[in-house]
Amino acid sequence: MQTKKGKGAAFLRRHAQLLIPLIPLVILIVFNLILNPAFLEIRINEAGSLSGYPISIFNNATELVIIVLGMTLVTAVSGGQDISVGALAAIGGAAFYRVLKMGNMESAGTVLLAVLAALGITMLFGAFNGTLVSVFRIQPMIATLILFSCGRSIAYWIAVDPNATFESKLVSNLAVNLPGIPIPTPILICAVVGLLFFLMMKFTNLGLYAQAVGINQSASNLNGINATRMKLLAFVILGACCAVAGFIRTSRLQLISYEKQLLDIEMDAILAVAIGGNSLGGGKFSLVSSVLGAYTFQTLTTTLDVLKIKSTDIRAYKAMVIILLVVLASAPVKKLISRLWARLRSREARGAAPGAGAGTPEKGVQ
């Protein structure tokens, strides 16, 4: 029994971080279920695809989740955040649009080429960010401030067209619903990106090195890890994530808006990383927890939509909930909780101890 309990405790300790985004997520879902018992229901609509709140949460969170994966990595290795991800996604979307316009929009080859172009250019810009951070040791937020402020202009130059709309059945299928498959495509793309990250964590040392560099760069260097290269790599990966997010958003709307596309997603992504219980100061991280953080964030957005909060007010409401979340996940509160937990457990142990009968008053016990 002892070992079983020990094992359970170890499991809990190892995955305790998941509770940080999971608890508010469950609370939000319960809240929604009270308002609307059918909140978790999933239906098949006339078009033959799935619909319902869970599906729309998964669907709408796609861009955020993909960027959050990369952001988590950058945060871990550099101890800072990339605030240019929204601009990078716009650049990716613009490159995609530009290449698409040049060829036959309904041909798979053109679409593939367009996606590759988007990936190429954002990874290049990611490498630019990464170089500033790793080689020139500029604080990540300052380094990425450059593309944050000029990235959308670059997106405009790339796409050229001021009202860049397009119509392509193929792109629409890819971005919204593949015929015959009931699950919205963005969810599938998100799953593929998630799988790629899983494979990267499993078959390379990216996770170990990123954490080592983030925790102690000096010691990492002395163990032969090239910290510069690791940071660069993280930013390039994040760049690729931005391209995918930009592609999805552009394809969904069938237009590229330089000014608005994925505006402010950097702040949402950073928040999701934080809601996931990851330290924004770098070091240890959990991708799963970050992703849960992103879904929690999206569930919050959906909840506010359900409550018919005016779009002008929505940010204020979000802020209130986030203050609560961040404070609850803060170190002093965590300490308090663990202290209460320890007290509860010691009382429990005392209660269970042989000899200390349930009915005996606990007079002599301190």
């Binding site: 170890a10 190892r14 499993k202 078959f203 390379t204 040392n205 990216l206 170990l208 090195y209 954490q211 080592a212 925790i215 102690n216 000096s218 010691a219 990492s220 260097n221 002395l222 163990n223 032969g224 890890i225 090239n226 070091g283 240890k284």
Partner: protein
Amino acid sequence: MENGIVLTMRGISISFPGVKALDRVDFTLRQGEIHALMGENGAGKSTLIKVLTGVYARDEGTIELDGVPGTVTIHSPQEAQKLGISTVYQEITLCPNLTVAENLYIGRQKGVSVPWKKMNRDAAALLDSLGIPARPRQMLSSCSLAVQQMVAIARAVDTQCKVLILDEPTSSLDEKEVEMLFKLMRDLKARGVGIIFVTHFLEQVYEVSDRITVLRNGQLVGEYETASLPQVELVSKMMGKELEGLSQVSASQDEEAEQAEVLYQAEGLSSSESKPFDFRIHKGEVNGFTGLLGSGRSECVRAIFAADRVTGGKVIMDGKVVRITKPIKAMKNGIGYLPEDRKRDGIIADLSVRENIILALQVMKGFFRPFSRKAAEAFADEYIKALDIKTASSDTPVGSLSGGNQQKVILARWLLTHPKYLILDEPTRGIDIGTKTEIQRLVLDLSREEGMSITFISSEIEEMLRTCSRLIVMRDRHIVGELKGSQLTQDQVMYTIAGGGNERAD
């Protein structure tokens, strides 16, 4: 209080959990003297300073200050400053992005508005009177380290200072800058300031100080006039070893190692931190760099491992010329390095014991070839058992282990790579005596049974004599001698460190 005495500390004791950091220590400072506080690492110098500046509260003892009736109790650094005790620490604690004048007066003017003109005028006068080559409106960061240090001192002495504590002020200065600082110290001394000078540079003590107080293991060894204490005697007092009758030669040192072939040889190796030096180690040999702290021994081994930027020299390993410019290259050539500063360079605190143990081998294996969880666990468990590492599990973050066990984890990390040549820089510092002996035994076993070559550095000379068959002696960043065989005695080591008659190596 006796005439001319500014500070008397009597019977100061202080305990921390498990250790008596100071045990009835006396200290007296006279007006207008430079008083060196000497002792090896952990002798209690900093603790004594911290008691005096109100960082620690003493358990026993009295402090008397000139001009203050009765014994004083100092609760905080601010209070110490009010009583006329100022401290300048090793690291500059000023604001580099403010001007010199601002740094001198910041946080000291009353009211909300800052009288800039007056402040700059006062600063100019102060700098001038102390002969500090800086302008009031100059950014502090544009001054050299020495000048920054001097500004810190000026700030300290401007507040009615009777006692000035300089904690390792010269460790990052070059010779010329040290001269400048000494001139300032002598000026202040002439003005009647009592200066407590904490340093580990012997030459500097003899150049500038009037009196020396030596501490060892938290106890007072004695107070001496600098002029009447020969340098070698000071070394012997710091180490706590009498000069004569110490010729008990260390355990059976195998001289055969000398005959074995050379494994690693460096000619004129230099790094950004070390001056060029020659060095060699034979197969299965245990040798060591010795010298006082700051003599450059760590910098030498860091150069071998390319932990600092290698700037020149030729390295021959196993008869072949190799270029070791990065730690990974050293590792691939079969060199392992346990760094001096465990916290800063060794452990990755938040990662588990397992991840810390496999790290070096994993990096050598390659980015795309991670160990399976099972393999990693097997490695970790093997070494946790072999080195008797006390940890709840291999999943425990290494930062939560005790110092000795953290050190064993790093040792395990390097043993796992099966190096041909292992460098251990202060592997036994700050760890309990049991673990210390374990590590010493391990070092000897590795060299005898596995033929590993080991370079061992320790501040404890007995430990070096017990484990090494050849000692390279360093002083002030130069190799000043090499001892082996019958020369391996404490006397000989101390004479060589103090600069008494051993052949020069270069």
